[in-house]
């Protein structure tokens, strides 16, 4: 299934994390190359089998990748959910590679360290 327009040069990508309470949550531009890697990871993931992981109210609550055609990938604790106008798909990422790669694309100082605990 085609889930992006990664071949088009005009596409812009934004990454972000659900993290703070008092400060606005951080967002950052994600370059085409990193976005391409993330999409490749996504394409290789198996469907998520059950209920999505619960998120805490305070602290790190997942990260997202957004493009300018209304698609958003949300990653948290081994799950990745693609939301788009037509609906959503959930996939399993046991190694959290999508999440780690996306968080690693944030400019230095944007995110506190050790966001992903081994849980």
């Amino acid at each position: 299934m085609v889930t992006s327009r990664s071949g088009e040069s005009s596409e812009s990508w934004i990454g972000g994390a659900f993290l703070f309470s008092g400060r606005p949550d951080p967002t950052w531009p994600v370059d085409e190359q990193v976005a391409g890697k993330l999409l490749a990871i996504w394409e290789g993931l198996e469907p998520w089998p059950g209920e999505l992981p619960a998120r805490p109210s305070l602290g790190y609550r997942g990260c997202f990748l957004r493009n300018d055609i209304g698609q958003e990938w949300f990653a948290y604790r081994g799950s990745v959910v693609l939301q788009m106008a037509e609906g959503s798909q959930s996939r399993s990422d046991p190694g959290r590679s999508f999440e780690k790669q996306l968080l690693a694309s944030a400019p230095e100082g944007t995110l506190p360290g050790n966001l992903i605990r081994d849980d």
Partner: protein, 292 residues
């Protein structure tokens, strides 16, 4: 002696009023003397206002019999006033009012209205049946009378209010739609994400530092609590009218649960995730603060 008897039935129109004076008034009051107190399980007067017939309102206009309130209500033979719920000596006084030759005939109500009032009186019996006298209890003490109500649906609109108001907005109960930052409105925004920096910034917004509050509500205003994720972020909780704490983590929904999904009796002991530093309690005096 004058008695004013109002047939309490309408919402928009003025209610019909009958005035009695002299011996007529004295005789009516003698029939309305309190007999016995209503007992547990007997129909009461509805706690919430209802539409339609609500009984007779009796006012002792000039002279007053001391064993009856100055203004009281008679419904189906029962008398109700402030702290007062008794059977009347004459349980059929309303029939004396509404009967075909009763007091109601003194009013120019046409033919249909008196009949309709009688029907409404019967219908109101069913309404009253839902409201029983409850066993007496000690007066309920409000825990935090000035605390804000927990109204998550108002904040959690998945739109403008939810996404543009953060923990500081929610804790101060002050919507700005700007993701308010401590000290910004006063030109003294925090410079570090530490208690030592955020606390004076909030004081600049006219929150009152109350380190000795010890989770007790103030007489005026409501209690909030500042916590810090060291060098990363700040967070606020607020104490509600029921004595429980609630919070709104960033742009997410307001909630009454901590990170372990537990209600919050004290933010000092709540599971606060990475917000490990408890700074202080503060008081928000309603209308005194300014945030942006």
């Amino acid at each position: 002696m004058t008695l004013r008897i109002t047939i309490d039935i309408f919402s928009g129109r003025p209610n019909p009023v009958i005035e009695l004076s002299g011996n007529e008034a004295r005789e009516a009051l003698s029939r309305l003397q309190p007999a016995r107190a209503l007992e547990e399980g007997e129909p009461m007067f509805p706690e919430e206002p209802t539409l339609g017939y609500r009984g007779l309102i009796v006012e002792q206009v000039d002279e007053r019999m001391e064993n009856l309130p100055g203004v009281f209500r008679l419904v189906h033979g029962d008398l109700f006033g402030p702290g007062f719920a008794h059977k009347a000596q004459d349980e059929y006084f309303e029939d004396f009012v509404y009967g075909r030759t009763g007091l109601i005939t003194r009013l120019d109500l046409g033919q249909d209205l008196p009949q309709m009032i009688r029907q409404e009186r019967d219908r109101f019996k069913e309404v009253r049946a839902k409201y029983k006298v409850k066993p007496s209890a000690w007066p309920k003490r409000r825990v935090c009378e000035c605390g804000p109500r927990y109204e998550p649906t108002w904040w959690n609109d998945l739109g403008q209010r939810q996404f543009n108001n953060n923990c500081y907005n929610y804790a101060t109960n002050y919507r700005t739609d700007t993701f308010a930052q401590p000290g910004l409105a006063a030109g003294s925004m925090y410079t570090a994400l530490t208690c030592a920096s955020v606390l004076p910034a909030a004081v600049a917004d006219d929150l009152i530092d109350s380190p000795g509050a010890d989770n007790n509500c103030p007489e005026n205003g409501h209690l909030v609590a500042l916590v810090i994720w060291p060098d990363v972020d700040f967070h606020w909780f607020r104490k509600g009218r029921n004595g429980r704490w609630t919070h709104k983590p960033g742009s997410t929904a307001a909630t009454n649960r901590d990170n372990s999904g537990v209600i919050i009796p004290d933010p000092r002991t709540a599971d606060r995730g990475p917000y490990t530093d408890f700074c202080t309690f503060m008081v928000v005096r309603h209308g005194h603060i300014k945030i942006r």
